[in-house]
């Protein structure tokens, strides 16, 4: 696993973090939450990357959802036997609703990319990754839950709070559009550079 993204890596960092959390400031139930975060952060970030399409939004998604869930940690633990699954579901839903807001913002003003702060997209040359980018968020979430998480249609439906029929139609729309994009890319290569 090569680190494509320059980041300050693990090693002492994590150990120190854990020690500090246990030793000092964390009262009561949040100790448990700190351990949960420590154990699951890398996996959640990766999942977030698949969902959101870039590391920045992934980090943002993970942080927002975890903070929200952490603030109700004992309640969440009580309510669900599998907090990790709960977090992942929340991320998928947060991704969907966030995108709606973003789109609304983008309709108002087109924000130019501040290239100085934008790291190279590791999947820049992956047509499929680029095609995923154009999917509506719910379709993307369905695709990620299905091909990244390996969930069944019913499980996806339960996660996103939609009917299995919706999942089915969203999945087939998404696949059709991905397939179309992949084909289209090949075909348009020389042809219609309008």
């Amino acid at each position: 696993m090569t680190a494509v993204l320059p980041a300050i890596l693990r090693g002492d960092g994590w150990a120190a973090t854990a020690r500090q959390e246990r030793g000092s400031a964390v009262p009561g139930d949040l100790t448990d939450f700190a351990e949960f975060v420590e154990a699951n952060l890398p996996g959640l970030l990766r999942y977030g990357h698949a969902l959101a399409g870039n590391p920045h939004d992934a980090a943002d998604l993970v942080q927002t959802v975890l903070e929200k869930i952490g603030s109700r940690w004992s309640h969440v633990l009580h309510k669900t036997g599998d907090p990790l699954a709960y977090v992942r579901r929340s991320m998928a839903n947060a991704h969907i609703s966030r995108w709606r807001r973003l789109r609304r913002e983008n309709l108002v003003a087109d924000i130019p990319e501040p290239s100085a702060f934008t790291p190279a997209d590791p999947f820049e040359h992956e047509p499929l990754w680029q095609a995923l980018r154009d999917l509506p968020p719910r379709q993307r979430a369905v695709i990620v839950l299905r091909y990244y998480e390996g969930l069944s249609e019913a499980e996806i439906a339960a996660s996103l709070g939609v009917s299995p029929g919706t999942v089915k139609s969203q999945a087939s729309k998404a696949i059709a559009s991905l397939r179309g994009k992949l084909r289209g890319d090949e075909e348009t290569e020389g042809r219609e550079a309008v």
């Binding site: 696993m1 494509v4 993204l5 320059p6 980041a7 300050i8 693990r10 960092g13 973090t17 959390e21 939450f33 700190a34 975060v37 952060l41 890398p42 970030l45 990766r46 990357h49 698949a50 959101a52 590391p55 920045h56 980090a59 943002d60 993970v62 942080q63 927002t64 975890l66 903070e67 952490g70 603030s71 940690w73 669900t80 929340s90 947060a94 966030r98 709606r100 807001r101 973003l102 913002e105 702060f117 934008t118 790291p119 590791p122 999947f123 499929l128 995923l132 299905r146 091909y147 249609e153 019913a154 709070g161 939609v162 009917s163 919706t166 999945a171 087939s172 696949i175 991905l178 397939r179």
Partner: protein, 280 residues
């Protein structure tokens, strides 16, 4: 997900390969966990402060999720929620997974707090009611539009009620074909199609421990006439106690259950009745 054409399989295989790629890894920066725990604690403190802050704020929340939530957020007078994912803000708002030199401190993650609480569709684009897009759907009252809709009562649908065990529910004869259904496994939940010859309810989710914990409506609407297809305006005028959820709103249905409304593009896309006590 069985009957896929070879083409779909090809795309599926490509997707699996892509999602298995090491390049998907995002490494957290040191201290990322601290930042999150600190953020969670801040959030909890703030909620406690709001809860004890008396009736005024509570009333604001009841009036309309969008307005109230942005008001609650530290008195910034911008009606729009901060969009943390915008390019120019990400480097300072994310305390983790930082791909560049911005080792954001926990404090700087503050702007993202409360972010995902923002309602999916505040009415900031059209301050007035939008008569333009109601040419096809009657704009008058919600009741007149949905008067014929089957009803998802606060306690359930037809003989199916919240809390009912799988055995009781199966005995009503309203669950999918008997030979295809089995009870939920120990410590698990399962979802069953409702087959009563109508398209009122899509399915129910039954927990081994808590019985029926969720109804997912298709055509059915609440007693107030709100269901899939209702506009956000109709939803708001029918329920004064809407709470914001990750993908829509919810309103209390009874002491033990709430109606959950999935909202997209100012329209209710799905109605559910969800038990408060659910382990699913």
């Amino acid at each position: 997900m069985s009957d896929r054409s070879p083409d779909d399989d090809a795309v599926g295989a490509e997707l699996r390969r892509l999602f298995d790629d090491d390049r998907l890894d995002v490494r957290p920066v040191a201290g990322a966990g601290d930042a999150i725990v600190a953020g969670a604690r801040r959030r909890r403190r703030r909620r406690a402060a709001v809860a004890s802050g008396g009736g005024t704020l509570a009333v604001l929340v009841l009036v309309g999720g969008g307005l109230a939530l942005t008001t609650l957020r530290g008195g910034d007078d911008q009606p729009q929620p901060p969009v943390a994912a915008m390019p120019q803000t990400t480097t300072t708002t994310s305390a983790l997974g930082s791909p560049s030199a911005s080792s954001a401190s926990p404090e700087r993650s503050e702007p993202t707090l409360g972010e995902s609480q923002a309602p999916p569709s505040p009415e900031q684009q059209s301050p007035q009611s939008p008569p333009t897009r109601s040419s096809t759907s009657a704009a008058s009252t919600s009741a007149s539009v949905y008067i014929d809709r089957p009803m998802l009562r606060p306690d359930g649908y037809r003989q199916l009620t919240l809390g009912m065990s799988y055995q009781e529910a199966a005995a009503t004869g309203l669950l999918g074909p008997a030979e295809s259904t089995t009870p939920p496994a120990e410590n698990a939940c399962a979802t069953y199609a409702v087959t009563d010859g109508t398209n009122a309810i899509d399915d129910v989710t039954i927990s081994r421990a808590n019985g029926i914990v969720r109804f997912r409506a298709a055509d059915a609407a609440t007693p107030q006439g709100i269901g899939a297809g209702s506009s956000l305006d109709q939803l708001r005028s029918a329920y004064s106690d809407l709470a914001v959820e990750s993908n829509g709103y919810s309103a209390s249905a009874s002491a033990g259950a709430r109606y959950s409304f999935v909202v997209a593009t100012e329209t209710v896309t799905e109605l559910q009745l969800v038990a408060r006590d659910s382990d699913c």
